[in-house]
């Protein structure tokens, strides 16, 4: 964790530019520039800056954001739930839907389902996320007039209590669908490919020859084996998704962490960038642990308690 933060610190210091242009606007004078640089301690050597930063981080203080003039942890805590509101349900839905559809594609004898699902999945996979977002907006907001285009709430309404949550749910539908569709194709294709490999293996033939229906043999014997690498992929994509939501967040004006990251880098808000990297790496590490635990539950060959 410390190593990640250290490397990020060096990387962002190496990026050209400083926060002055973003903080002051145009028409800056030399004296003003120096005042800002001094104010944030940017005139000191990189080692001094680094030392001070890491001393504070060890005490749990990530400093203040230059741009938001608020503590980094506060800024991130305000934004993280909004991103998770999209990421967690979308991973959940896309996993179950993807495995379900992949399973059907693999076991169906009907050619339309057997090749139709993978074909549509391949098509879906080739659509860029922002384009998909615009497509959904054009259909459901502009043409059908069912759903709102932007934001997490309708700010005109000043809604509170239950109305507020309903409003958030209503605004979540389109961005959530975009996120689900953007992940779905990969999961369908991977599940199907893995299942078809499993079906060719001897144990599956044994299962069929001992009298099981193909349906039952697939769901009870092939699926548990096939689904393991799918879980690895889902787990490893999670961290990517949190920042990968940038495009969805941008199109729908969704106030998430991805957009915050882009802004922080653009304005060279060093403490904020480092704070976001810290949080993201923490999340990725926790999720990797979760994936491993899932494995041990699903795959009896892996047992953390066994000593050999």
């Amino acid at each position: 964790m410390g190593i990640i933060l250290f490397i990020s610190f060096l990387l962002i210091q190496a990026a050209p530019g400083d926060p002055v242009a973003a903080l002051a606007g145009e028409y800056v004078t030399q004296e003003y520039r120096e005042r800002i640089i001094r104010h944030y301690g940017l005139d000191q050597s990189i080692w001094n800056q680094g030392l001070r930063y890491f001393q504070n981080v060890i005490q749990g203080d990530f400093g203040d954001s230059y741009y938001f003039k608020d503590s980094v942890s506060q800024v991130i805590i305000e934004r993280l739930p909004q991103t998770l509101l999209l990421v967690i349900p979308s991973v959940f839905f896309s996993s179950f839907l993807g495995i379900f559809l992949g399973l059907h594609a693999a076991k169906s004898n009907n050619t339309i389902i057997h090749s139709g699902i993978p074909l549509s999945a391949t098509l879906l996979n080739s659509i860029p996320t922002f384009w998909l977002a615009y497509l959904l907006i054009l259909i459901f907001s502009v043409k059908l007039n069912w759903l709102p285009i932007k934001g997490m709430v309708n700010p005109r309404l000043f809604s509170t209590g239950i109305d507020y949550y309903l409003d958030v749910a209503y605004h979540t539908i389109l961005p959530l669908c975009t996120m689900i569709f953007s992940q779905l194709a990969q999961i369908i294709l991977l599940t199907r490919v893995r299942l078809e490999e499993e079906i060719k293996k001897p144990y599956f033939r044994t299962a069929i020859s001992k009298g099981l229906s193909k349906n039952r043999a697939v769901t009870h014997h092939a699926l548990p084996n096939a689904v393991l690498p799918v879980i690895t992929v889902i787990g490893s994509r999670f961290g990517f998704l949190i920042t990968g939501a940038i495009l969805t967040e941008t199109v729908f004006a969704w106030p998430g962490l991805g957009r915050l990251m882009v802004l922080a880098i653009e304005v060279r808000d060093y403490p904020l960038v480092l704070g976001i990297i810290f949080i993201l790496s923490a999340i990725v590490m926790i999720l990797n642990l979760c994936t491993d635990i899932c494995y041990s539950v699903l795959d009896p060959r892996i047992d953390f308690n066994r000593n050999e």
Partner: protein, 509 residues
Amino acid sequence: MLRLLVLLFFIFPFSSFAQKNVVVATSADPGHLNPGITTGYNVHVFADSIYSGLVMLDQSLQPSPDLAESWKIEDDSKTYRFFLRKNAQWHDGRPVTSKDVKFTFENVLFKYHSRTKAGLSKIVTEIQTPSDHEVVFKLSNSYGPMLSRLDVTEAPILPEHIFSTADANDHPANLNPVGSGPFKFLEYRKGEYVKLQKNENYYLNGLPKIDNLIIQIIPDGVTQLLALERGEVDYIDRVPGKELSRMEANKNISLQKNTAGPGGGNCIMTVSFNLDREKTVNPLLRQAFAHAVNRDRILEQVLFGLGRVAAAPINKGIEWAHQGGTLANYEYSAQKANALLDEAGFLRGTDGSRMSLDIVHFPRFNKYAEVMKQDLAQVGINLVSRPLDRSAAVDTIFNQRDFDLNLISYCNGADPDIGVKRMYVSSNIGNIPFSNASAYRNQEIDQLFKEAGQTSEIETRSVKYAQIQTILAKDLPYWWLVETQSLTAHRSDMSGFRSWSGNFAVMAQ
């Protein structure tokens, strides 16, 4: 689920509102809401509605009363005496006094508002407060542009009783502002919106006419337009030129074209030549460049007609200073450009190319670089585009000085002393963002700018600026491409937006 959807479908889009809540779209977070410590557009577009200046500027940028009810210019415009409104009060109920004005200038603006600091801090020798409602600015010499530098964008007045407790740059009130403007601060949700509420005690009678002003952060331009068309948004502060024809065809939407706006108007897209480099220091090359670029095509293909070809180094929007026709000698002609380059000894190689020049610019100016690349290829110059993000571009241009050419949108503002001088005077060369990018040094120019800023007589000043422009057209330290216009759009059932001003919603209805 379906039933819920149907229910939502009926409740939300068609609910009727007792209050008039206006939603405005802008593209970036403000970060904080103190217009006194930055000139950045992103802050001013939100915060200028919360605060007030001593004067307002009308559409032709002429001053009219705001916090100052009236004023007297005395002593050969070396003394400006302002009489404040007696009914003006802060959002917390305290009266606005001359002490607030004095405090704001001395402790905030002259420290942190880079434009006002550069323009006024050296000229204002003393700020006196003879009574609670009278404030006097003593100047070291007569200064013409004074009044146009006192609106809410240039000099927002802040409350002393709030800001005197800590340094303005880190004051907690930057996130919880108390102003005297038409709208009170309600809530800032980062990445989402800022909600402002009508100030019931506003000193201008009957204003504002709307109940709540909600400024929503929508980073994507296409989303902004779709939301405007659907009525989710009432006003967009910046519409891209390529959407002009689509917006014009929609009768629910009205457009306003502006040359000014909060954060600096009267902008010219300008190419800087690096005068520290061997090739670009050659005046013949710079003249050839001017002849080689087809500026009419840029106006048509990049700006979709929104703007005009620059006719002089100073924008036509500042009419009394603009010296039209100064650049008339540099008509578009590949033939003349080729002749000049031959004369300068930049001969074509076997592949037909004379040289490569790089151009540093923000990514959003890609199209300008493309058009210029095509034009310059005709005269044997290979233009290499180097798009860099804002911070990196500023560092490359003004700190490392690593460029042959760069492209910057220089905004001239309301007065040449604010936005023009900074590009040309030799004292402004160095690691300062958006300063003298070419590193142009000319003592005569330095002297003329100094003289033009010292007098208040428009006639004298316009003569000085005419001389300056003639010299610049001869020396050609920059090449001025096009004057850009910005486009704001609003729903046709609304009116009264003052889109040229920071205080844009005070009269909206």
